[in-house]
């Protein structure tokens, strides 16, 4: 741990990079740990706003407010900590809007006050928690203008979908503003993890957002392994990669079908959902669970595959490619479908940069960040793949990013299976000792960050997870502006943000 203090609000990227590099050598997880004073804290918040580095996460742990920052160009990452003073700290959101919801959530959960925060409204606390009830009510931001009307939607939606509230302000058919209110599926995950043994916390992590169960297990395991100095055998690393890519494939295929369905082409949904079902059944047969829940654990993975298992995956890839090729052709040749996706729901590239939006939302708008590439972790440090990007940033571009990533995932799986050498799949835990670790992995919808602190006997002192959706939901709000209300399902599905993952 190093301490920086002399530098003030003029902290520049070079100084950050130097400081991080100086601290890097001591950390197994690749994150430098920096103790900041108030001036440095504010300087870094302003640095995020200036685009010198990306804000990755912000959370409260052990009387500290902590912020994860990274700069992919400089190849540096840091976790910066500031001690709370009388339960307060200088607001990052005051300088850098992407921090606002994170700070509101942390105030609701831990009472930590972000001094100067421009948005005082509660976020996760809806006024109904037992023993903490208060006047419910929530003030949506005011929109003034002639002929505007509001359309409230949710929390219970018309489809089979997670709950959230969307407040549309529209002028006729055209959306003037959308404001989302989330937190409905807040399940108190951080509090549940506190004091839990590592295995129990791993089960919780696998259920942060069920659609990214492998990715969350992967990130949690990495963080725990970094904290304890737990080495994963190569075969375990490779199988993790195979599972993570299968998970990406299944959701990309499913979402392409879902988007087409929202544009009223149900035949493509049927096709895609057949391919998806094929993937889930293969996963079930090989890894013991249709979604591979609890298959990735600290130390490695729980199930091995034999030669016939590897052959089954290769055969699956071929079936996916044949089936999906027809879907792509049909999509490409349907003007009525393209008419709905082209130019619809454009996420502004400026916002994408500001919010450091990950996944296909970022990459469809020119931000090439991919945690598998930017901070390559095993097994991605030894495979070749492309990170596709587009500039249009509309629904169509997000579909094409998915299509291209499906091909890349298949290529990655083939490379990994080709390197599958005999050996153990899981290592026994080293003696438990107090420690901290963090990990950044690429889930299907974007980068996700997990930090853990472990105390004696392998109990979790604190676990924090930041889903990619934190920085994608606000972009969805801006992307729908100027579109018609009827295009919202299309935009929403093309983002496919997680509710569970941000409601924590």
């Amino acid at each position: 741990m190093i301490t920086l203090n002399e530098r003030g609000a003029d902290t520049d990227p070079v100084a950050l990079a130097d400081a991080i590099r100086a601290a890097l050598q001591v950390r197994a997880d690749g994150f430098a740990r920096i103790e900041a004073d108030t001036a440095l804290w504010i300087g870094l918040a302003r640095g995020c706003a200036a685009g010198w580095q990306d804000l990755g996460a912000l959370w409260i742990d052990d009387h500290h407010v902590r912020m994860a920052l990274w700069d992919a160009r400089e190849n540096c990452r840091a976790i910066v900590s500031l001690t709370l003073k009388a339960g307060a700290y200088p607001s990052v959101g005051l300088h850098h809007a992407p921090a606002l919801r994170l700070e509101r959530a942390m105030r609701d959960l831990y009472g930590a006050i972000p001094e100067g925060i421009p948005d005082e409204r509660r976020w996760l606390d809806h006024g109904v928690w037992p023993g903490r009830e208060h006047e419910p009510g929530y003030h949506f931001l005011a929109v003034d203008g002639n002929g505007l009307h509001q359309i409230p939607v949710g929390p219970v939606h018309a489809g089979i979908i997670e709950p959230g509230h969307f407040r549309f302000t529209a002028n006729g058919e055209t959306v003037a503003r959308l404001e989302a209110r989330l937190g409905y599926v807040h399940k108190g995950v951080e509090a549940l993890a506190q004091g839990a043994p590592v295995e129990k916390a791993a089960r919780l992590a696998a259920r942060m957002s069920g659609d990214s169960t492998v990715a969350y297990s992967f990130a949690f395991s990495h963080a725990v392994e970094a904290a304890l100095g737990w080495d994963v055998p190569p075969r375990g690393q490779i199988l993790r990669g195979v599972m993570a890519e299968l998970e990406r494939l299944s959701h990309h295929v499913g979402d392409v079908g879902g988007i087409c369905n929202d544009a009223a082409v149900a035949a493509l949904l049927a096709r895609c959902s057949l391919i998806r079902e094929d993937i889930l059944r293969t996963q079930d047969a090989l890894f013991g669970h249709r979604m591979m829940m609890d298959a990735v654990v600290p130390g490695g993975v729980v199930r091995d595959i034999d030669a016939s298992g590897a052959a089954a995956i290769l055969a699956l890839l071929e079936r996916i490619e044949t089936g999906f090729h027809r879907v792509i052709r049909a999509y490409d040749q349907s003007p009525s479908l393209q008419n709905r996706t082209h130019g619809t729901g454009i996420a502004e590239p400026d916002f994408i940069r500001q919010f450091a939006a990950g996944g296909f939302v970022g990459r469809a708008g020119g931000r090439a960040f991919d945690a598998r590439r930017a901070f390559a972790y095993p097994p991605y440090n030894a495979v070749a793949f492309k990170v596709p990007t587009r500039e249009e940033s509309d629904v169509d571009a997000r579909i094409w990013i998915r299509i291209e990533e499906i091909a890349e995932s298949a290529a990655i799986i083939r490379q990994l299976l080709g390197r599958l050498e005999d050996g153990p799949i899981r290592a026994a835990p080293p003696p438990f000792q107090p420690g901290a670790g963090a990990a950044l992995v690429e889930a299907f919808r974007g980068d996700l960050f997990v930090a853990v602190r472990i105390e004696d006997e392998g109990r979790i002192a604190h676990m924090h997870a930041r889903d990619a959706s934190w920085f994608q939901w606000p972009l969805l709000e801006t992307a729908i502006k100027g579109n018609i209300v009827a295009d919202f399902p299309l935009c929403n599905k093309s983002f496919n943000c997680s509710y569970s993952g941000v409601d924590l």
């Binding site: 996760l124 809806h126 109904v128 928690w129 037992p130 929390p155 219970v156 018309a158 489809g159 089979i160 979908i161 997670e162 709950p163 937190g183 409905y184 599926v185 807040h186 399940k187 108190g188 995950v189 509090a191 549940l192 089960r203 919780l204 259920r207 942060m208 957002s209 069920g210 659609d211 169960t213 082409v265 035949a267 493509l268 049927a270 096709r271 959902s273 057949l274 998806r276 079902e277 889930l280 249709r290 979604m291 829940m293 027809r326 879907v327 052709r329 049909a330 040749q333 349907s334 997680s498 509710y499 569970s500 409601d503």
Partner: protein, 175 residues
């Protein structure tokens, strides 16, 4: 799109044979709801899904029920957009306190006769969130539950067996 059409004509249907309903559940349900149900329902059910605090994996499997392999609509089971059109509420999740009112109001908006199916370990009250201060726990603590389908998440086959038991139970005479 014509490629898909040709493909569909050449290949057979993807749909699988139906699983038989969960027999024990059928008997229980027939006892519990037989008379009040039979006259009203026929053999079809309109289902409104409610996520009351799930991790979203249960939703993914409920979605899968609609794919051509399970093709849930062939049994007269139909997912509807509003509780006003529903006979059944299919509820997932550990009922977060933040969703309790949403669940209660959805239940109140569903016309009688109505049934509640709690799907998944969370909804059953034994999932990973059951001890959370932020969750009420089992769905049964908030609204009366007629059938529980366990699993984390329940597979589409589990869900289908349970829902078929509901159709059977609701239409078979009580013993």
């Amino acid at each position: 799109m014509h490629i898909l059409l040709l493909d569909a004509l050449l290949k057979g249907p993807a749909t699988e044979r139906a699983p038989s309903p969960d027999e024990a559940a059928v008997a229980d349900l027939a006892r519990a709801l037989g008379t009040r149900a039979r006259a009203r329902l026929g053999r079809s059910l309109a289902i409104r899904e409610v996520d009351a605090g799930s991790c979203n994996a249960c939703e993914l499997e409920i979605h899968a029920l609609g794919n051509p392999v399970y093709d849930v609509e062939r049994f007269g089971l139909k997912f509807v957009a509003s509780p006003r059109h529903a006979d059944v509420l299919l509820v997932t999740g550990a009922v977060s306190w933040n969703m309790r009112e949403g669940l209660e109001r959805t239940y109140a908006a569903t016309p009688d006769p109505k049934w509640v199916v709690a799907a998944g370990d969370c909804a059953a009250g034994c999932g990973v969130y059951s001890e959370s201060h932020a969750c009420a726990g089992a769905v049964a603590k908030i609204v009366p539950v007629d059938l529980v389908i366990p699993g984390c998440p329940p597979t589409p086959t589990d869900l289908l067996k349970g829902l078929l038991a509901l159709v059977e139970g609701a239409t078979r005479s009580p013993r």
